[in-house]
């Protein structure tokens, strides 16, 4: 079967700066695919090219077997989009937002009206049907944006940072709904910089930086192929001195960040025994996670 979304050698520059640099992607039907990367890595530009909203400088892309941007309009009939920033219609109620949006897909009012109760139920907004958008909480607005992206019963849903700015309760509800969508067989492509979100939701992930894909695979594969399995974090005012003197002895790799030292090891036992004897230091021993991979691949410097 052809991939639902495919990109070959996509390139895009703005004012001489290459934002996307030779990107290859193949996203299969029914999978939840996560695009990770620091701010400015080129995630949103990639999504916009795959949706056919902007033309690449080089390379090709297909969306649901249609070439984009050439046939983007036809392809988008079966695509839903949850944008990074809410762009709901503030003048309308919850239900009116769905009705008006459905019309853009050429749907008849009766057809949309028939879908609205299910969409509201899915978004847990049934009781808010006639509420105006400005009265909704941030989480409700996101859920309405998600419901709006489903109004045309899409095969593919693009989500650009779907849970940024939400509290934990609101995030968990969105995650539950996204899981339900993949169970229905929909293909999801999402960007995020929350590693727990990526680990929980995505079947496969790609880490992007400076416009390039630097690693790709399932969350487990990414961890196994990029990083030692155990992490010991060492804290304390003297952690830096300790690292200079001892870290290399016990850890395959280590990084100093302020008053913390991150030690990456295959076997944590000798290090833990050693640290138990250091009264000035505290430590935390845990399995390696996606955030460790991300920081290893994209570095610890701030991106602004």
């Amino acid at each position: 079967m052809n991939p639902v979304i495919q990109a070959k050698g996509l390139q895009k520059s703005y004012a001489g700066h290459r934002v996307v640099d030779g990107l290859d992607l193949a996203i299969r039907k029914g999978e939840c695919f996560g695009l990770l990367g620091p701010n400015g890595a080129g995630k949103t530009t990639t999504l916009r090219m795959l949706l056919g909203l902007i033309a690449p400088d080089a390379g090709t892309a297909t969306l649901l077997d249609l070439p984009v941007p050439q046939a983007a309009r036809e392809a988008r009939i079966k695509v839903g989009v949850v944008p990074q920033m809410d762009n709901l219609d503030p003048d309308f109620t919850v239900a009116e937002n769905l009705l008006v949006y459905g019309r853009y897909f050429g749907m008849h009012d009766s057809e949309i009206e028939a879908r609205i109760p299910d969409l509201l139920e899915f978004a847990s907004l049934t009781s808010k049907r006639d509420a105006k958008v400005p009265t909704l909480s941030g989480g409700m607005k996101r859920r309405l944006t998600l419901a709006r992206a489903l109004v045309n019963d899409p095969d593919v849903v693009f989500l650009d940072e779907p849970t940024t700015g939400l509290d934990p309760q609101a995030r968990h509800l969105i995650w539950q709904r996204l899981n339900a969508l993949t169970q229905q067989g929909k293909t999801l492509l999402l960007t995020t910089h929350f590693m727990d979100e990526a680990e929980r939701l995505c079947h496969r992930l790609a880490v992007m930086d400076n416009g390039k894909l630097i690693s790709q695979g399932s969350p487990r594969e990414l961890i196994e192929s990029n990083i030692e399995p155990q992490v010991v974090e060492v804290f304390g005012e003297t952690a830096g001195q300790w690292a200079n003197a001892h870290a290399a002895t016990y850890a395959q790799r280590h990084e100093v960040s302020g008053e913390s030292v991150f030690c990456y090891v295959h076997d944590a036992q000798p290090l833990v025994v050693h640290l138990q004897a250091q009264s000035a230091l505290r430590y935390l021993h845990r399995p390696a996670n996606l955030e460790d991979v991300f920081l290893k691949l994209t570095g610890r410097e701030m991106r602004e």
Binding site: I54, V81, P83, F92, Y101, R103
Partner: protein, 261 residues
């Protein structure tokens, strides 16, 4: 700017759901909106028409207030379309990101720009008809020919909406629109024959006025309101249409460039 920005627009009926969106918003504020459309032009027309008109025996063969009625219809249509295509469209493009939401569907930027121009022209039509009804009630025009004002205010709306969209495509923020109103719209109101015949102006200003779209609108409106067939009607219509088409195309190219980031 890439070559693809210059492609001619693809016109489809997909603009219509966007027009319906604007209509649904407008319906929620219809009563204050209609009063807003009426208040300013009617007060100008009555105040200047009766106040200044009492000092003037006649102008252009009619009472001054009847003379002013035709001009008022034209400039109030110009204003409605301009306000909507500047402030309204800018809010939907920039602040509310409504355009961004729409462009994620099968609707394209071409459809959006077309629908914005048609919607602004619709506002012109509504305000024009409201003012026309007041004019009829006051007995300032008794000719059936004045019915032609209905398509004319729509055409005026299309021309000014399309030109206004160029400003919207270039605007960094709302403040920018002040320049357009003080440097373009207000001078047109004063130079294009709304309050007095263009022939009263020095020749240089007359030449300038001839190039401006509002002059052509007034040249069509004034005879129609008096029950006469406008001279050079086809030419005046062609000028207004040319402004509408050029404004549509230029603004579309600019919007494509602006939103391709």
């Amino acid at each position: 700017m890439s070559m693809s920005h210059f492609v001619l627009p693809t016109l489809t009926l997909r603009f219509f759901p966007i027009w319906r969106r604007q209509w649904l918003v407008w319906r929620k504020v219809a009563v204050p909106a209609i009063l807003g459309h009426l208040a300013d032009p009617v007060i100008y027309m009555l105040g200047l028409g009766y106040g200044l008109g009492s000092l003037l025996p006649e102008m252009g063969g009619t009472s001054y207030i009847a003379f002013l009625a035709a001009g008022t219809l034209c400039y109030s249509s110009m204003n409605s379309a301009s306000f909507e295509s500047l402030y309204g469209a800018f809010a939907r493009m920039h602040e509310q990101r409504t355009w961004e939401a729409i462009m994620n569907t099968p609707v394209t930027l071409d459809d959006i720009v077309l629908s914005e121009i048609l919607w602004s022209a619709t506002k012109s039509l509504m305000s024009g008809v409201a003012v026309l009804i007041v004019i009829w009630i006051l007995g300032l025009s008794n000719s059936l020919m004045s019915m032609w004002m209905i398509p004319l205010v729509l055409l005026i709306g299309l021309a000014f909406a399309a030109v206004g969209m160029i400003m919207t495509a270039l605007a960094p923020a709302y403040d920018f629109f002040m320049y357009y109103f003080t440097l373009v719209i207000t001078p047109m109101m004063l130079l294009c024959g709304v309050f007095f015949p263009v022939t009263q102006l020095p020749e240089a200003l007359q030449a300038l006025a001839t190039a401006l779209p509002l002059t052509h609108a007034v040249d069509l409106a004034r005879p129609l309101m008096n029950g006469a067939v406008p001279t050079q009607a086809a030419f005046h219509i062609a000028v207004l249409l040319a402004y509408a088409l050029a404004g549509f195309y230029i603004s579309l190219v600019l919007f494509r460039r602006r939103l391709s980031r």
